[in-house]
């Protein structure tokens, strides 16, 4: 392997994330709890001492059962959440296929939404202009691009949203369960597209329940159980480790 490829892209150092579950959502409730000496919050530790490094060009799967903290980890890497302890460092542009379509507005047309969401994901006007045709072509909804998104079927909506997200200029791609939505042919198309990005040497962190997808896309697997990292190694062994215990 050449030297530059060995430089890390993502460094996760002893990261801990605790959620404070607040029971008071207004000044009034907080005040009443204070008077009655009730606790206004309880805490839940979602991630404990997570520590790993992803090198440039590596493709890593995060495996674990529901509620084990996989999405939380991706949100920490994308910057949506901040760790309570430890630190995270990234190098290059991070893009997340975490929940596509979050910035879509039903009253705007498909075209307007493409521009708005691509800008939300960090693209400049010039970049969007350049890629607009590719985005629309990939989504296969050319004839509806100027109608309002509220008239789209959920399948059409997902295609467009996914297509925007996948065309963002990026160095690191975070993928959360996204390959389990949409119809089968489109899902396959998305997987191919992500595969292309892997082959181009993009750094990738993938969360998926589908072991087939994980085997196809990733070389390395990290298993998280109830917020603790229990395995880090070759993807095949990670899958066994997940199912084994």
């Amino acid at each position: 392997m050449d030297v530059t490829k060995n430089r890390p892209s993502i460094i996760v150092e002893h990261v801990q994330k605790t959620f404070l579950l607040r029971h008071a959502h207004s000044f009034k409730e907080a005040f009443i709890s204070k008077i009655k000496k009730k606790k206004i919050s309880s805490s839940f530790q979602a991630l404990k001492d997570i520590d790993f490094t992803v090198n440039e060009g590596e493709s890593v799967a995060i495996l674990g059962y529901n509620g084990s903290g996989k999405s939380t980890l991706l949100k920490l890497i994308s910057g949506v959440l901040e760790p309570d302890k430890g630190r995270i460092l990234t190098r290059g542009r991070v893009a997340g296929l975490i929940e596509v379509g979050a910035g879509f507005h039903p009253d705007l047309s498909g075209r307007e939404n493409v521009y708005l969401n691509a800008a939300i994901l960090g693209m400049s006007k010039r970049e969007i202009d350049e890629r607009f045709d590719d985005i629309v072509a990939f989504s296969e909804i050319e004839e509806f691009i100027d109608s309002e998104v509220k008239h789209y079927s959920s399948g059409m909506f997902l295609r467009l949203a996914f297509s925007v997200a996948i065309h963002v200029e990026l160095d690191i791609l975070l993928v959360d369960e996204i390959l389990s939505v949409g119809d089968a042919p489109f899902r396959e198309k998305c997987r191919k597209k992500i595969r292309e990005l892997v082959d181009e040497g993009k750094t990738m962190v993938v969360v998926s329940h589908d072991t087939g997808t994980v085997r196809d896309l990733c070389d390395r697997g990290i298993v998280i159980r109830k917020g603790e990292m229990v395995f880090d190694g070759p993807v095949e062994e990670a899958i066994t480790a997940l199912k084994g215990k």
Binding site: L20, G79, R87, A102, H105
Partner: protein, 289 residues
């Protein structure tokens, strides 16, 4: 793989740590799209569209004109009261709109805030700009009405108008950042906003003149009243749009320039505090929403 060999950290950054308001202006294109979205989707589903948003201020204007001006005789000593009132109301409406839009902006955009990292100051700032866009047609009406009553602006007057608008926009942005952030955890913060809005309308010279308030308040209180950034902004607007159309019997308040500069400084300080408060609360947005 977890062995800690020292790595070269150049080029690395901490995700989710931006430069606050500076990032908003670095990402102007996104800001522009968010403003455009705010302008075009608001009222889209109501029959009159944007028209509706002017029905309320217009009604308010005529009620105030009738009750304050004619019934209570507040127009005595204020020549061309129609323009005087209009200039003040438009300014206060700008403040009220911008402030309450900004306060709601984070909660309104929770789908985005929870899922994608972007400089969150973007939302309150976009909300203030949308309010400013809403304000421009009202200014156009004011220009027409003033012109009909003999308004021929000089550079000084135009400067006063811009200065006044700047103070209001800054003040609303700062307060909007503070309350927008607090509103995420304490949803009843909006009640406080209502109270501040009420104060904005009544504790500034919109419906009466500064002379009548100075007549009933002790000196020190008048001085505080004059230091309210909204007071100087509204007096700047009066100076810009109304004074030259009046008979000159009500002069601009003494030391208006000094008070305006104080108002500007206060608005800037509020904006800086807003940024600090916002940053403190921001870390919890994604999990609290």
């Amino acid at each position: 793989m977890t062995a800690t060999e020292p790595v070269d950290l150049t080029g690395f950054s901490v995700p989710g740590r931006g430069n606050g308001l500076f990032d908003v202006f670095r990402r102007r294109y996104l800001l522009r799209l968010l403003v455009r979205k705010g302008v075009s989707t608001r009222y889209r589903n109501s029959a009159l569209g944007w028209g509706w948003s002017y029905v309320k201020p217009l009604t308010q204007y005529f009620i105030y004109y009738f009750v304050m001006g004619i019934v209570l005789g507040r127009n005595r000593g204020i020549d061309n009261f129609a323009v005087y009132l209009l200039a003040g109301i438009i300014m206060v409406n700008l403040f009220n709109e911008a402030f309450s839009n900004a306060t709601k902006s984070i909660v309104d955009n929770k789908a985005l805030v929870k899922k994608i990292y972007l400089p969150r100051e973007m939302f309150p700032i976009a909300a203030v700009i949308v309010a400013f866009v809403h304000f421009l047609p009202q200014v156009a009406v004011l220009v027409v009405v003033s012109a009909l009553t003999g308004w021929t602006p000089s550079l000084l007057e135009l400067g006063a108008i811009l200065f006044g608008a700047l103070i209001v926009v800054l003040l609303a942005s700062g307060l909007g950042l503070i309350f927008g952030a607090v509103n995420v955890s304490f949803r009843d913060a909006q009640n406080l906003v209502e109270i501040i809005r009420l104060f904005a309308t009544w504790a500034s010279p919109v419906l009466y003149s500064y002379v009548s308030i100075a007549a009933v308040m002790p000196d020190w209180l008048t001085r505080i009243y004059m230091m309210n950034p909204l007071t100087s902004a509204i007096e700047l607007f009066h100076y810009g749009f109304w004074f030259s159309t009046s008979d000159g019997s009500l002069q601009p308040p003494p030391h208006l320039l000094q008070y305006s500069l104080i108002g500007l400084v206060i608005a800037l300080v509020v904006t800086a505090i807003g940024q600090l408060v916002f940053r403190r609360f921001e870390r919890r947005f994604a999990q609290d929403l």
